[in-house]
Amino acid sequence: MINSGDTAWVLISTALVILMTPAVGFFYGGMVRKKSLLSTVMMCFASLFLISVQWVLVGYTLSFGPSKAGLIGGLQWLGLIGVGQAPNPDYAATIPALAFMLFQAAFAIVTPSLIVGSFVERIKFGAFLIFTSLWSLLVYYPVAHWVWGVGGWLRALGALDFAGGTVVHVTAGFAALAVALVIGKRIGYGKDNMEPSNIPLVVIGAVLLWFGWFGFNGGSALAANGLAVSAVVVTNTAAAAAALVWMVLSWLHRRPSVLGVATGAVVGLVAITPASGFVDPLSALAIGGIAAAISYYMIVLRMKLRIDESLDVFACHGMGGLWGSIATGIFASQAINAAGADGLLFGNPGLLWVQIVTVAVTAVFSFIVTYALATLIDLIVGLRVSENEELVGLDISQHAEVA
């Protein structure tokens, strides 16, 4: 039976999550040099329209269609045939099946847009489109099926991932590292100024992400109930804690920067994602605060290693998602969500173990497949623009526009 309140909440949550993909574009776009600002915004926007179409055609059925041996969804729902206004009780009994479908679409859309941060300012737009289409097919849809699909093998194992810490952030973060290694550094990396061109735009992006994340985590309850509320509360709390900790760390270093607190907030949001339906507000403070420190020092390390994973998708999403998934194994409590499980702090070390396995499998899978995919695309069509195109900037060279 469809419940109008639950449907209203999932619909608006979907709208919020869809808004997040262009928000990633603003967040990233303001951080690159002006000459590639539009190209960065464009790649995220392209994730939105490209994956929207792919999802309707094949993505949904591959991710959530009747399971083939726990590994991938069957093709029964190709083109959304059979996905209608009636609920699909396997996933959500009180909202139309189409509502669950579109909510999940928003996740499939935002995930590849996160990876954009690793190869900005040097990728061919055409190669990007090929990469994104194939990456979704080869990495996202399988992992989404494993963790969230009925019959998925990691789900069967008992892995908890409320809103995509593993499915979204770990996959994107490790993929980002892989592509960065394949595509190589920007010309002048570590030598020229690569200053952020538009910090107000970064903040606009971060703020829309924070806003959208209420739908991301709160909507994952798939109902407007106590659990949705609890998820929203811990989401806000973890974001705030992480921003605060990042501010302190950057102040200890020298100055509390706007770029820093915006990044911190996003890291907090990432880390709480898998845990958001299982933990209480005080745990959220801990999860967010610790996440900020982990990502902060991972960026320090990444810079020392002189890897041009340009906007630190690995440090923020990969490590944030990894920590959040593990933290779920520590802080989860059935007092918050009876359908969940207790974590380490509540006497159940088993969950922690499952979480570690899940994260490890996903991270390794995403890294290897992405590395192979990027290498292949590079060989066949070339990932990278010419030196001159890179110097002139991707806005003019790829899109014939200026920001």
Binding site: D192, S250, H253, G260, I299
Partner: protein
């Protein structure tokens, strides 16, 4: 006629304009430039750590004046813009051969 080009700290512009105004030098042209000199760049904060901005935002003030008044103007600029710290900037003086007032087509001294 001489052109005085002063490259100064942006934050001094309001004060300088006022002092020049007060002494009757109201006409000037201002450009936002970026500079590099003894000061090298400045360090700004990135998400983590910092990065060097090689060029520092400065303001270039150009005044075309009679040769006799050059020293007076230099003096005003020095009095307002000199903080004694690296990065105060430079003044360059060069010759201008002719001036035309677009509004009237007048030339020379009276066009200034």
């Amino acid at each position: 006629m001489k052109k005085i080009e002063a490259i100064i700290r942006s934050e001094k512009l309001d004060d300088l304009r006022e002092k020049l105004d007060a002494s009757g030098y109201t006409a000037m042209t201002v450009t936002e430039v970026k500079g590099r000199g003894a000061q090298k760049g400045i360090l700004l904060e990135w998400r983590v750590g910092e990065y060097r901005v090689e060029f520092i935002p400065k303001v270039k003030v150009e005044l075309v004046v009679n040769a006799e008044t050059v020293d007076k103007v230099i003096e005003i600029i020095l009095s307002v813009c000199s903080s004694g710290k690296v990065g105060d900037g430079k003044i360059f003086i060069s010759s201008v051969e002719e001036v035309v007032r677009i509004r009237t087509g007048e030339r020379g001294q009276k066009a200034l």
